[in-house]
Amino acid sequence: MTDIAPDMWAKVPAGAAVPPPPPPAPTYGQEVRRRLWANKPAVISIVFIVALVLAAFFGPYLSPHTYFRQDLKLSNIPPAFETYAVPQEDGSVTRFFLNASNFNLYEVDAEGHVLGLLRGGRKDIIKKSQPYEFGDQAVTLDYSRLPARLLLEDGTELRPSGWSWNRTYLFGTDQLGRDILVRQLYGAQISLTVAFVATLVNFCIGVFYGGIAGYVGGRVDAVMMRIVEIISTIPLTLYVVLLMVVFDSGLLSIIVAIGSVFWVDMARIVRGQILSLKSQDYVAAARTMGASPTRILTKHLLPNSIGPIIVTLTMLIPSAIFIESFMSFIGLGVTPPLASWGSLTSEAVETLRTYPHQLFFPAAAISLTMFAFNFLGDGLRDALDPRLRG
């Protein structure tokens, strides 16, 4: 107890200013929010995830390109290129760039918009060269020695005039001439959808299963937990693979496959929480007042165990993203032309030797997203339950 000074017992004159009451102690929710906002990586992660979700779901509508339209004439275009300029007699300038891996010339304008593939003369297979005509100027593409060179009529080498960003296809195009940026956003959309929905399915099954096992207890609990034990010894990735083989690849089946398999951890955690909470007095009170088990479970037990559930949920999302991309990588995920980060990565691996930049985007996207969810999960864990801080 605080010491009460004698003068505090003195009578307060009528009409004197009443000191304001102390501010109410922060509620649990406010405390959690304060701790979460104080955690820089977690806040950055939230911003990143929100931005990613917005970009993934609205970005594709803002682009003139679609994820499925192919243009084989404009395949494997890089996101940045060195332009060459050939001045014409009438004062205009023809600009183009050389794709050093497939020996094609593409016409571009001064800002870096790709105008199209340039048609050259007949290729000389023996001498490995191809003539091009630009008005009155003739340029020969010589690829007998690598890197390929462009030669003018007098035999001097044509020098590039400088680097330019690709304004038509910001991230370039893939091997079928599809815009990589749009496919990337579209892939994010699929990957995130699969991850969120599968996590939600896992959440529902896990809460339902763990809730019943924990609340009913006794023999039912023993049997249910034995089943969980058996399931957790089975390598689950193998089962997702088997389910995908049975269902045939597709968006819905991968959601079902992931959603039906990874609920075991959630069930365990919910059961543990419920077991420790159900002997609390307020549960006994609710029971005495005649609340049904469903009501006790949904109104009392689950809300009080929400912390660990949310943390498990946040940790489930990156593993769902990972499993989905893993499946797509080995060819069991979504079917082309649909894209996901996994299938984009495996497509990029095919052209790794010649167009390594195509690997960069999906690899960076999935890694950053995994980071964000991991940091967010850690942050939430620390904020919801500071005792668990690792």
Partner: protein, 309 residues
Amino acid sequence: MIGYLAQRLGMMAVTLFAIITLTFFLMHAVPGGPFVSERMLAPEIAAALNAKYGLDLPIWQQYLNYLGSIASFDLGPSFKYPGVSINSMIAAGLPVTLQTGLLAIICVVALGVPLGVIAALNRNRWPDTTVMFIATLGVAIPSYVIATVSLYVFALRLGWVPTFGLDDWRGYFLPVFALSGFWISFVSRLTRSSLLETLEQDYMTTARAKGLKPGQILFKHGLRNSLLPVVTVLGPVVANLVTGSFVIEQIFALPGIGRQFVLSITNRDYTAIMGITIFYAAILMVMILIVDLLYVWLDPRIKLTKAAA
């Protein structure tokens, strides 16, 4: 001990039975038979093929036959490669998978634990922050991304290692690195937090007060107690290395079981998928059992009867 072992083995048998049953009926739930995707077969030939592989029998009889052949360690013939048995497929791939897998486990222990110890002993100084930064990277980046990026950098760009195959000893670097990257990071994080906790225990102060050498304190009292959680994750490590090997063997074109498995998936070779799944499951369960026994042996505080209950 014997009782515990018997109980665990019984549990394993039940699990394996469940896996076999589940796998069998899942694979038979696939619409159409194994020969449907082939060129149109004359009905007589299809009937002969079905009879040869016992597919004309009722499903329960096929199931019993399958159980019987597995009991005699025969996983049956492949439907895609005539005359090749699943057993020989596994036997061909096992050495490769085992080599890379064992090397990866060795890397996990030999790199993950020391890194964690270094981080814990230099808490909040640069070695700690460096190790933890790399470990955070390693936990978040998927193994196939590590594999493809390192393939590009070290094999294609720098040319230090071959791009595929294991003919050269340098060929082991990238697959093992990609396989173990996640778990090295995970184990070093775990070792760090567990050792930090142990360092604060009273018996550590006692050991210091007795005037023991720092090395003795660290190895005899600190590490021995803080490595227990690390041993617990070794079971999942094995499981994960196995599934990781699907992609890694695919990327580096290693002729192991993982690649065989992915190939049978693309080929829709149902008996091979079934057989390899069951084989994997059995291996994993044995590994997890070994890890559990190791755990009991390392930590005398755990009573076997208690663990079994």
